[in-house]
């Protein structure tokens, strides 16, 4: 170990050589040392070099597997492409076929929208309220675990137990209970009858939806300064609900934004639960969602151009919805 005095000497030596500029230039611009413009430009360049070297592996993979695919999906969506032959340009044909002729896609859109507009808001609000309630409790670890665990389990594994709970014969737990209570005479085919399929998917998804958003809220609530609640109390905040709206929510805005984005993305990406629960293809397409449709065309029929058009529509829609929600939430004041 060097003593502080040695360090100071070294520092001065470096300064004499004009080397230290590079070290300081990693700080915000106001702390750049004085030096000639040329020197500063050189050290600036050095930092760019080091910085981008650090980011290179991530950026490379990000370009290849995220940015690139988005771009090429947009290109492919205007082509006919079956993997064997090179893609050839067909303009808007895929989109026209999708939105006008493909009745099954319209079913998929309908199902996905139903799903998203129920699961999205319900899980968002439930996540927040539960996080808020749990945050007011002292011994909450077990509760957090109880509410969060379903979301980290595999959808495939969870579907097995749900298939028993919702099973269509008399041994299905729910059916059996309803029959014993006298509410039903005949068991209901929850996972095979058209009207019950989407509700079943929604229930299981909601059960699994207290995930990342819930954790973000729970953690965000812990950062709200206690002094604010104290101050609120002195200013005569009448009850916890006013406290929630006037103090907690405004401070939680960044976390709420993050939670919104997460819940939008998750609710439009429904696939695993649907396939695991009612299979693919589902009876009368009652559990058919956009990603199921995409999977069908891309990896079963190998109509990549058409499937890309589905992907681009989904992408555009979630992206725009995300932007709109961000704008709505962030421009409140």
């Amino acid at each position: 170990m060097r003593t502080p005095i040695q360090r100071k000497e070294e520092r001065e030596k470096r300064r004499e050589k004009g080397e230290d500029g590079s070290y300081f230039s990693a700080l915000p611009s106001h702390s750049y040392p004085l030096g000639s413009l040329k020197e500063r430009m050189r050290s600036e360049g050095r930092w760019q070099l080091i910085g981008y070297a650090f980011m290179a592996p991530y950026l490379l993979l990000f370009l290849i597997f995220v940015v690139g695919p988005v771009m090429s999906a947009i290109y492919l969506s205007f082509t006919y492409f079956n993997i064997l032959e090179a893609p050839h340009w067909i303009g808007w044909t895929n989109y026209r076929a999708l939105l006008v002729d493909d009745e099954i896609f319209l079913i998929a859109i309908g199902n996905t929208l139903t799903f998203a507009f129920i699961t999205g808001p319900v899980s968002f609000i439930a996540s927040f309220l539960l996080a808020w309630l749990l945050n007011r409790m002292r011994f909450r670890s077990l509760y957090v675990l109880a509410f969060y665990t379903p979301s980290i389990g595999s959808a495939i594994a969870a579907a097995f137990v749900w298939r028993i709970l919702l099973s269509g014969d008399r041994y299905g737990t729910l059916n059996n209970a309803l029959i014993r209570l006298g509410a039903l005479d005949e068991p209901i085919q929850f996972l095979a009858e058209q009207v019950y399929i989407m509700p079943a998917i929604i229930v299981v998804s909601l059960w699994m939806s207290l995930g990342t958003g819930f954790l973000v809220f729970l953690a965000g609530l812990q950062t709200v300064p206690k002094e604010l609640y104290e101050a609120g109390k002195m200013d005569g905040v009448p009850n916890v609900w006013v406290e929630l709206i006037k103090i907690t929510l405004p401070i939680m805005r960044p976390q709420l934004l993050f939670g919104t984005v997460i819940s939008i993305v998750n609710s439009f990406a429904v696939f695993q639960v649907a396939v695991a629960l009612v299979g693919f293809p589902s009876p009368l397409y009652a559990g058919h969602v956009i990603i199921t449709h995409l999977y069908d065309y891309a990896f079963i029929r190998f109509e990549m151009g058409y499937a890309s058009a589905i992907a681009v529509l989904l992408f555009a829609f979630t992206f725009m919805l995300g932007r709109v929600c961000l704008r709505l939430f962030s421009s409140e004041d």
Binding site: Y23, P69, F160, V265, A311, T318
Partner: protein, 300 residues
């Protein structure tokens, strides 16, 4: 440490004694009325676990008892038997999933942290642009990019290899985002001091940044491990042979063939094996995850 959020939220102090009593009372009620909801949430999981350990004759009892009367490991033996007729043993599927998930976990943490460090601490050209692109990538699900990804992976000759299951998942947008948010909280003076002491940038990253952001990368480890462990879509597309199939795929196969009664227990044994690691990981890391998530807001 200055960068940590407050450890535990105490009861807000109230000035008057009766108010405190009322507050206590209300809190107690919350414990009680929230209990049925919590129970409802975990009952399907408890069933999964108990089915895995129930002997055959108990599987079809009604109402299904919450806990097995005579717990047994028969179902796990059944699982081994049921899968022995397949071309590859079930242990191979477990091995595939473990290797994939662990590699994705380590890779995501490493690449995410490396990229987040200059984004958080250097006056980099174009860093706002890069960050906003990454934020945008948070806003759509990976399924959307699956087709070109498939084409790329295909072109690189990686189909049906571990590479296909691991490499495309490494540049996780959430990873860069979380690490950057957290690293911004590390005081710049610390880095400055290390630079004055003559430490190189890699050394600063490894010796100062990484130890100080341990809660963040612990969180990221969980958030990359669990989805990979549970992933169904990626292995479904990127694997061909039986020997590359992951746990979720194998489980789906066993499950869809669960017509015989003996298979029924085996399926739950498999489900139990799939559920266990993510849950254990979270129990183990709960505190750290919550500390980190406090930093995950999107500032606008």
């Amino acid at each position: 440490m200055a960068t940590q959020p407050t450890e535990e939220r105490e009861y807000p102090l109230t000035s008057s004694q009766p108010a405190l009593a009322i507050r206590r009372l209300r809190l107690n009620w919350t414990y009680i009325w929230i209990l049925p909801f919590a129970m409802a949430m975990i009952i399907p999981l408890v069933y999964t676990v108990s089915f895995a350990f129930k002997p055959l004759e108990e599987l079809f009892l009604f109402p299904p008892p919450l806990f097995p009367r005579r717990p047994t490991t028969d179902n796990f033996q059944q699982l081994v038997l049921a899968t022995s007729s397949m071309t590859v043993p079930f242990s191979r599927n477990i091995f595939n999933t473990v290797v994939t998930s662990l590699s994705v976990m380590v890779g995501t943490v490493l690449l995410g942290s490396l990229a987040a460090y200059p984004l958080a601490k250097y006056p980099l050209w174009g860093k706002n642009f890069i960050f906003s692109v990454v934020i945008s990538a948070l806003m759509f699900s990976p399924e959307v990019t699956q087709i070109p990804r498939y084409l790329i992976v295909n072109k690189l000759g990686m189909i049906d290899t571990f590479g296909a299951l691991i490499i495309p998942n490494l540049a996780l947008p959430l990873g860069l985002f979380l690490m950057k948010q957290f690293m911004e909280g590390v005081p710049t003076e610390l880095l400055e001091a290390a630079r004055i002491d003559g430490a190189g940038e890699l050394r600063i990253f490894w010796r100062i940044m990484m130890p100080l952001t341990r809660p963040a990368w612990a969180t990221l480890a969980i958030f990359s491990f669990i989805p990979t462990w549970n992933d169904y879509f990626t292995p479904l597309i990127f694997t061909r042979s039986e020997s590359m199939k992951t746990l979720t795929l194998a489980m789906q196969t066993i499950g869809s063939g669960a017509t015989s009664v003996a298979r029924y227990g085996a399926v739950f044994a498999a489900a139990f094996l799939v559920l266990l690691p993510p849950v254990l990981l979270f129990i183990f890391m709960q505190r750290r995850v919550l500390d980190t998530m406090a930093y995950s807001g999107i500032k606008s």
